[in-house]
Symmetry: C2
């Protein structure tokens, strides 16, 4: 089945304690789209870039089978983000953000994109997410991701969005802030009470929690020895989930399907962390992903 | 099969943001012994207490089927520990330690205790652990736990111990300090190179990692909504592992056995966190433990 991924496409500059990489392909939709494409589902990306967006980045996306018809190119500079990781890669500091063309984003979906069966509203403003949601025509399974920024400055719109999505994905720190609750199990249940049928709380290197009607699932993450750059891991995770769910065909999505999609998304995210930006994801094969999934299963079976 | 648990028996005073409890039964051997006893294995405790040790605590231990023949009672005050937890229960502050009779600890095992088939050298000084180890007569499966204090002040003796045990258990912060390595997978492999056939890195609410020859296993922890007091969770975990392994009978312990013991120990530790001190563990039934283990399996199956 087809997947629509709406979000940001960015040029990321990333500083770690040992390296600096400038103007890498980044943004929630870029990571999520490349992750979703791995499952073989037809991926449509909805985003906006400036006229300065490098052709090499565009070529990488299309080479992964991603349809860019819904990526607007407008006069101006592409959205840029600069961040820094310290020794503890679980936390990062934003050094600079240049919104630029993102301010003009006014998503208008093609008929094909609007009829996708699985939709990921990747991290971007709730206004843009709602705008995409309002154009959907095929009663899709809708996943929404977000971030602390929107919890802080656009909470009402975010809550409006949550009432209308099937699955809401959020990371642990954000879940705690959003629900003003330290305990993640309690926070997860409370998030569900805000509307979404399912909630996933992402815990980075510690895995994820899935909450649903009458069901709970938890998984650890694939244990990495080398973490070069965790940027985009959460977007990869959500995109991996969307791609996995789209690969299942038209039957109704079950809790067990979602649990498997969480593990699959988490395994894809582990690849993203191994190299800077989308480098590892951009060369990942479905066979490698399946191999690591099998390895993860053997690591966790008791 | 029989289990010998050697460690400390203490009187713990525990402060959290909402409660203070004074002179609770505590110490590594108390928690580990009660956890090990749940599996139905005959548990012998080896420790030292002062003449002030409350009869009620002694009664609780014996009521759980724990043999106290190897618990010395000597003139003086029982070892006392006072600690405080803040909002983040993953870290605690030691407010006071009174070693008292612990300084006189000179473990001398009975013939029965010396011939145990599974031995847990729970957290105490490496000198005491080696002293117990030197008295063992039945080629047992030996587990050793430790803490940051001994890494800092008794590293050479701890390293000597590690060469002679089958399984070394350590928490994540201590593993990082000990190996001067942030990555836990790398730290776990390096710890194995120091001697023990198996290493477990405990990650508290995030579960545990198990390293063995040619094998790796990881599990998350049972997700708790209420954490009253995590004191003793690590000791409960190690004791639960020892009890589980002892319940298996005389066949050689496999990596799969150890993986299951890690999950079982982790599930028992979750009970310990629910109430102050050994309160929850002291009333836990094998049926409740089995029920939560089954629940955990359903939460993690994909």
């Amino acid at each position: 089945m087809s997947v629509l991924i709406a979000g940001t496409v960015a040029l990321d500059s990333i500083h770690t304690t040992s390296q600096i990489h400038n103007e890498l392909l980044g943004g929630s939709a870029a990571y999520a789209g490349m992750a979703a494409a791995l499952s073989g589902a037809g991926v449509q990306l909805c985003a906006i870039v400036g006229t300065d967006f490098p052709e090499a980045h565009r070529t990488l996306l299309t080479s992964r089978g991603i349809n860019l018809e819904n990526v607007d190119v407008v006069e101006g500079r592409t959205f840029r983000w600069t961040g820094r990781y310290h020794d503890d890669m679980n936390h990062r500091e934003t050094l600079d953000v240049s919104i630029d063309v993102l301010e003009k984003f006014n998503p208008r979906l093609t008929v094909d994109a609007a009829s996708a069966k699985v939709v990921l509203l990747a991290n971007m403003s709730p206004d843009n997410q709602l705008d995409v949601l309002n154009q959907l025509t095929a009663r899709p399974f809708v996943i929404a991701d977000s971030m602390d920024l929107w919890i802080n400055i656009a909470r009402v719109r975010l809550e409006e969005l949550m009432k209308r999505v099937d699955l809401f994905v959020i990371n642990e720190d954000e879940a705690r802030i959003f629900m003003d609750e330290r305990n993640l199990v309690t926070a997860g249940h409370r998030l569900r009470e805000m509307g979404p049928k399912y909630v996933v709380v992402k815990k980075g290197e510690h895995g994820a929690l899935l909450f649903g009607p009458g069901g709970f699932f938890t998984t650890c993450a694939y244990p990495l020895q080398k973490v070069s750059d965790p940027t985009g891991a959460g977007d990869t995770f959500a995109g991996g989930m969307a791609g996995y769910l789209a690969s299942l065909g038209p039957a109704e999505i079950t809790f067990a399907d979602l649990a498997r999609s969480v593990v699959y998304g988490s395994v894809l995210a582990s690849f993203t962390c191994e190299e800077f930006g989308v480098k590892r994801l951009g060369m990942l094969t479905a066979g490698e992903a399946a191999g690591r999934l099998a390895e993860f299963r053997s690591y966790t079976t008791f």
